[in-house]
């Protein structure tokens, strides 16, 4: 590995660490006024970081970050005003309380948004409404807590500065010291977030942004992860708010204002969305630009230029400063996706697969049946699933066929949990899952492969498999073992580091199937798995399905009768939402009625 590659890999912690060290050195020598301003840029960087966590990583543009910032600031200030005369130090009472409060509020708002499964626009608007509500409420909210007086639109004044000493005689730090403290707090927030985002939790957050449905199909409780991520972001915002209160010694409702709410997005975009370090770069750039143009803290005459810069950024520099830098650097690094071009054909090794499935049986128990009892699904006047009662057991592949619009995929979606049926029951083994969320069904042993390949494009092939394996094993070493063996079976060992999006359509299909195997499912549902595959791939797929069916229940929804015939399994024909007939494929091919509905054979005009 070259030096450039090593540096690139370490860049997320190395360069921020250097920047922190530099800033701390500078804090001894810099001009106090610049230090005063610089501290505010760092604070806005922390606020931007909080947005980057929910937006850049979580995929939800929250305009509520300034609300958590303000709420944390107010509560932190109240604590500081009351406790500073007693203990002296203002950081200890203020920052943890501010972070906790910000996190709590964000968690509650996040629960409202994510548990209601709101659309992205509605979620953004709701978070914005929350901020605006606080804006109008705080204008007239007047109360006192101990010595702290919250004075409506007069704001809250007399907040002590940053004091690190203890006792009644401890003094507030001068601007240069304040700057240093802000840098240290920012570094703590950044590195803690970096660690979190590099943990398995962060992996799931990334997966949710890339494909939330697939993440849930791996058995992760996606909505809980979203709420926790939002709460963490809120805590970071609250922390920034507490620091801001101590920095400015004064708070007023304009913290919740329209203009303020849109500042974090601009900082994040300028720096680079999803980079975590970007918001700091963005806040520093915007702040520095304003300062250089003579506007100082308030912005002043620079607003015009900022507005134009924002438009140009959106139009021409979508990845921000760090994003552009990253792209430039990567041009000089060896392409990790080069191996995708030499990928060979997939060869299913029956022995390996048998071994993997036998082990799975020992670990997670025997195969389960999937059964439906008179399930009924209706959309307006259309009834795609009309009282279908079926039971699928292991032993041989179970195929579901039927012409277009017969209700095959609606039936499958009802089994998976995408649709909630209006009547009837769905059972996995002995458990009634009719109304269970998708991830719970997956944890009961359901494995689903949808028609289109669902892979996490920005993750490597190996990481895709590992994430699936970890969902079941909840153990890093075991997950690595399972992922490694499935990788070998797919013949993709040489492509382990390739980004999944660089694979061909067919390879993505196999990777998706590999992810389902990593789950060691007790019931496998495959929706048109042969679509878009070459003849050779279709043959291997058929072998895989037949081998799997010896160990677990396998249900295949197919259009392609040729493929179904090679499965040598049991076939159910659906037509107009109902079970039309069933049997083995040869008897069905001889059945004129089946040919009629399949071919649409009638007498025409």
């Amino acid at each position: 590995m070259t030096l450039s590659q090593r540096l690139y890999r370490a860049s997320a912690w190395l360069f921020p660490a250097i920047a922190v060290a530099l800033a701390l050195c500078l804090s001894f020598v810099m001009d106090p006024y610049l230090a005063f301003l610089g501290a505010s840029w760092v604070i806005f960087g922390i606020l931007g970081l909080s947005l980057d966590i929910v937006w850049g990583r979580g995929g939800f543009l929250s305009l509520g970050q300034t609300a958590f910032f303000g709420l944390g600031g107010y509560l932190g200030a109240i604590a500081a005003v009351n406790l500073a005369p007693v203990i002296g130090n203002t950081l200890l009472p203020t920052l943890p309380l501010a972070a906790l409060f910000g996190g709590l509020c964000a968690g509650v708002l996040g629960a409202l948004i994510f548990l209601a499964r709101m659309g992205p626009l509605q979620a953004t608007i709701l978070s914005y409404t929350f901020t605006l509500l606080l804006w109008s409420l705080t204008q007239s909210l007047k109360f006192a807590v101990g010595k702290a007086v919250v004075g409506g639109d007069n704001g809250m004044s007399g907040i002590p500065g940053i004091v690190i000493g203890f006792g009644p005689h401890a003094r507030a730090l001068p601007p240069n010291g304040v700057f240093a403290v802000c840098v240290i707090v920012a570094a703590l927030a950044y590195f803690a977030t970096l660690a979190l985002m590099r943990s398995t939790f962060g992996r799931v957050v990334d997966c949710i942004r890339l494909d939330i449905q697939k993440t849930e199909l791996l058995g992760y409780d996606v909505r809980r992860v979203q709420v926790v991520n939002m709460a963490w972001a809120g805590a970071v915002a609250g922390l920034a708010g507490g620091l801001f209160a101590l920095w400015s010694n004064y708070l007023n409702p304009s913290m919740f204002s329209v203009q303020e709410a849109l500042l974090p997005p601009i900082h994040v975009l300028v720096g680079g969305l999803g980079t975590l370090a970007g918001p700091f770069v963005g806040a520093l750039t915007i702040g520095g630009l304003s300062f250089w143009l003579g506007g100082g803290v308030a912005g002043g005459q620079t607003t015009l230029i900022l507005g134009i810069v924002l438009v140009l950024l959106v139009l021409f520099l979508r990845n921000g400063i760090l994003g552009a830098f990253d792209q430039l650097w990567r041009r000089f690094l060896p392409d990790p996706n080069a191996a995708a071009r030499d990928a060979g054909e997939v060869r299913i090794n029956v022995g390996d697969l048998d071994r993997i499935m036998r082990e799975a049986e020992i670990q997670v128990g025997p195969a389960k049946t999937l059964s439906t009892d008179r399930v009924f699904k209706q959309f307006g006047g259309v009834i795609p699933v009309n009282n279908v009662s079926r039971s699928f057991a292991p032993g041989r592949p179970m195929a579901l066929i039927g012409p277009n619009g017969a209700g095959k995929s609606s039936y499958l979606k009802t089994c998976v949990g995408v649709y909630q049926p209006e009547g009837g029951r769905v059972m996995i083994g002995d458990t009634d899952v009719t109304h269970a969320p998708i991830f719970r069904r997956v944890r009961l042993g359901m494995g689903v492969k949808n028609q289109k390949p669902q892979v996490f494009g920005a993750l490597s092939v190996y990481d895709n498999l590992w994430t699936a394996a970890f969902a079941r094993t909840r153990n890093k070493a075991k997950a690595a073992d399972v992922a490694g063996r499935v990788l070998a079976m797919l013949g993709m060992t040489a492509q382990a580091a390739v980004e999944a999006q660089a694979l061909s359509h067919g390879q993505q299909q196999w990777l998706d199937i590999g992810m389902v195997l990593c789950l060691a499912p007790r019931v496998v549902l495959l929706d048109e798995p042969a679509a878009g595959m070459t003849n050779e791939e279709t043959r291997e797929l058929s072998l895989l399905v037949r081998t799997l069916a010896r160990h677990t229940t396998v249900v295949v929804v197919e259009h392609d009768m040729d493929f179904v015939r090679t499965l040598e399994g049991h076939v159910t024909v659906l037509h107009q939402g109902e079970v039309f007939t069933e049997g083995d494929i040869d008897s069905l091919r001889a059945d004129e009625r089946v040919l009629d509905i399949y071919l649409g054979r009638r007498q025409h005009v």
Binding site: A116, G119, L132, V258, P265, L306, G307, L313, L315
Partner: protein
């Protein structure tokens, strides 16, 4: 409670709702019909107000300044669409950020050009007496203006060939082009129309809301929330949402405080979004 007081409150609240609706219709066209979040909508309103003010100060009668304001805002709107918006269709959040950039740039341009305080043009001093209270007539007139605007947009969109093309382009863009509609030109026209309506609103509200560079901020948020709550049946939905949210806020403000009115607005918006995630009109079977 005295009936004259009640009548006064109801009438003035109705006017408030009408004013909100006037400010919202342009956004309803741009967001509701085109799916573009135009955060600069308020600034187009502001440009309309300043245009009307400047023209009036130059000696032209106020009534004639209104069409000038519409023409100016439509032209600027068309330019913005061609230069910025047309490159961002389908990227809803990018559009939002870009239009925010335009919004603050226009705001600052207005500050540089007109300063932060401008003389108003004064409301016509005609009022009606209801019991012990007197009500200015001009705000009451806004009810008629709002209805006229609604009617105009409704007829334009449903009866004219342009209206049909605009709706077709927005409902199924690919098919619209496949039957021969030049969607790019139609979209420019629709965006300009929305901006022109904002300019009209700014001009017609000038006697009530004096022109200031920041007047846009005051309107855009509530207008925006109104349109989001309205949902896909834009025009009828917006009228109803404006009546409920704007009127309700105004009634609340009359009995309590203006802050309580704002709080009512935002809480009602949040509750409606929670209850109807796709807008109140998501299940209506209406054209507009």
């Amino acid at each position: 409670m005295a009936p004259d007081f009640l009548a006064t409150v109801l009438l003035s609240s109705l006017s408030s709702a009408a004013i909100l609706l006037i400010a919202t219709i342009g956004l309803a066209v741009v967001f509701g019909l085109m799916g573009v979040i135009n955060l600069a909508h308020g600034e187009f309103l502001m440009i309309g107000a300043y245009t009307a003010l400047t023209v009036t100060q130059a000696g032209v009668p106020y009534v004639l300044s209104i069409p000038v304001a519409v023409a100016v805002t439509m032209a600027i709107g068309a330019l913005v669409e061609v230069l910025v918006i047309s490159r961002l269709y389908g990227r809803i959040f990018d559009t939002m950020l870009a239009t925010w950039g335009i919004s603050i740039a226009f705001y600052q341009l207005a500050v540089l050009t007109f300063g932060t305080v401008s003389p108003g043009i004064g409301m016509p001093q005609i009022s009606v007496q209801i019991g012990a209270y007197s009500l200015a007539v001009y705000p009451l007139l806004m009810n008629g203006v709002a209805l006229a605007m609604l009617g105009f947009v409704y007829l334009l969109m449903t009866r004219s060939v342009y209206g049909m093309k605009a709706r077709a382009s927005i409902q199924v863009p690919e098919m619209a082009r496949a039957i021969g509609i030049s969607s790019a030109r139609v979209n420019t026209m629709t965006f300009a129309l929305g901006c022109g309506l904002a300019g009209f609103a700014g001009a017609v509200l000038l006697p009530i809301v004096p022109a200031t560079p920041s007047m846009g901020f005051a309107f855009v948020i509530k207008a925006f929330l109104t349109v989001v709550v309205a949902g896909p049946v834009t025009l009828t939905g917006s009228a109803l949402a404006a009546l409920g949210l704007g009127g309700g806020a105004s009634v609340t403000a009359s009995f309590l405080t203006s802050v309580a009115g704002d709080a009512f607005f935002f809480v009602a918006t949040a509750l409606l979004l929670w209850r109807y995630p796709l807008g109140i009109s998501a299940r209506w079977r209406r054209k507009l």
